[in-house]
């Protein structure tokens, strides 16, 4: 029967632009053309999301330098949590403004000259110093692709861009120990499965001394601060560049880290 169908379709086959038999459409999610909710969107089926979640988790553990895998894990596992975060942002006045105006932190939107000229100790100046010392840039973040809701895609993108801010606020460098501490803070704050998994499994690759330091001092500090601070996604950082970092920390109730982790203080 299939060959009969093909014989009938044969004269049409040679023409370009002819899709395959309709029966298989359900198994073939389109990744281009109509149906895209935002520019980088790739629609995925539940099976693909499950495979992606498993694969990215494994690959992220195997090769910790694959930051894109951590991002993909977050996107595929965070749907429910992102909804909760988004609703909570809507209830907060500053958060609602962020959702409406959709600010983005990237090298093209940041005025580096202005940030450079800000006084020492201000958020903008310290953020810039953090970028320089750790040799990172806000543009190396992968865009969101696998979230099937346009607003939630922005929420997770904002979360990623705020991650660097958290490093500055908590005074943690971008080495593996610093990243784990920030992950613990984020896990408590956001509840994203990817943060929780990263916080629990990240320490696997640490040395015994770092692990001891982490468990005895840094994790309790991060958890305590995460609990008492309001949600960090609700801060409109772009309007707070001039605010002194110390004042911002006091506002959020973030204390000084108990141990000086190598790198940016």
């Amino acid at each position: 029967m299939a060959t009969l169908l093909r014989r009938v379709l044969r004269p049409l086959r040679r023409l370009p632009g002819r899709p395959g038999p309709a029966a298989d459409v359900s198994l073939r999610p389109r990744s281009h053309g109509a149906g895209l909710l935002y520019p980088d969107h790739i629609p995925t089926s539940p099976l693909q999301k499950a495979l992606l979640a498993a694969g990215s988790a494994g690959m992220a553990l195997y090769n910790p330098y694959r930051h894109d895998m951590v991002a993909v894990l977050g996107e595929t596992t965070g749907h429910r949590t992102l909804k909760i975060l988004r609703d909570q942002m809507r209830r907060d006045p500053e958060g609602a403004q962020i959702l409406q105006e959709r600010p983005r932190i990237s090298l093209s939107t940041l005025d580096l000259g202005k940030l450079q000229s800000l006084p020492e100790g201000s958020l903008g100046r310290e953020y810039l110093r953090f970028l320089d010392v750790n040799r990172v840039s806000p543009d190396t973040r992968v865009p969101t692709r696998f979230v099937d809701d346009e607003e939630l895609a922005y929420v997770i993108q904002r979360y990623r861009e705020v991650h660097d801010m958290l490093h500055t606020l908590l005074g943690m460098p971008t080495n593996i120990l610093g990243e784990i501490v920030v992950k613990w803070f984020e896990a408590v704050q956001t509840g994203l499965p990817m943060c929780i998994l990263g916080a629990l499994f990240g320490p696997i690759r640490l040395s015994v001394q770092s692990l001891h330091l982490l468990v005895s001092e840094l994790i309790p500090w991060a958890v305590q601060n995460g609990r008492q601070a309001p949600c960090v996604l609700n801060l409109y950082y772009e309007r707070r560049w001039e605010q002194p970092l110390r004042a911002l920390r006091e506002e959020l109730g973030i204390t000084v880290p108990p141990v000086h982790v190598q790198g940016l203080a």
Binding site: A2, T3, G17, L27, S31, H32, L51, L52, G55
Partner: protein
Amino acid sequence: MAASRSCALWSCCGRRWSRSMRGCWLSELHSSWSGGPLGARLLSQEKRATETHFGFETVSEEEKGGKVYQVFESVAKKYDVMNDMMSLGIHRVWKDLLIWKMRPLPGTQLLDVAGGTGDIAFRFLNYVQAQHQRKQKRQLRAQQNLSWEEIAKKYQSEEDSLGGSRVMVCDINKEMLKVGKQKAFAQQYKAGLAWVLGDAEELPFDDDKFDIYTIAFGIRNVTHIDQALQEAHRVLKPGGRFLCLEFSQVSNPLISRLYDLYSFQVIPVLGEVIAGDWKSYQYLVESIRRFPSQEEFKDMIEDAGFQKVAYESLTSGIVAIHSGFKL
């Protein structure tokens, strides 16, 4: 950009001037060229639709070449790893079967088009080398009363371990060729191997040059498959053989559904996790669906002038080897 580079390469390679002039694959040059032996062929191209498919997308013909180039540029480094992952290693068996079907005799001149990372070329070299060694052994065994010195001298004096066989690997993509050359260096293939940058639709070779033309998993990426087939016909010697290993249509409906499920659900995920590139592997599985069936492709090969065209489906039709002769 890629077109002007390949133009320069061909013109300084001293090819026939008419070919190198036509070599720039911008369609404007096609229409402005008039008269000469190429005129008749070009007239038939004028009525061609300017749109074609790129996977399930529709793109213009000029765009397709560039987009395919970008796909292979980005997958080149992980090409072999991904092939193993996606086909669970079965692609090695398919390529081995292609060489066994070929049964190259000593002294064969092989042209492997779209052969970027060299899989077919290396298998060919292994085969002819093994054949040559077997022949040597047989010869020595036949001559019973040689002294040890004479036997040792026979082995030492042998300069050409391939019996005159040569393989030319031609690919349009620089990154793929680079990976192939690195592999050749690592696995120490030196003799009888050449690497050429070229377009399957406009091969930088003279007529009647090669004994065998192979194209493995490359022809479905070519914008004008019929042109590639005509070029294949042109560069083969009379008596030469055309062999194509390509993904094809599965006949069994159950296997077809499983294959579709695997292709569309698993392969792009593998591409994302292993190579960090979803879109290239989505293109790959879509381009497989766009390729004509075994019978249709057989007709296309016959249209290009090949005779005794036959095909053999492997793994329930997931791939097929098409073969034709220039007589």
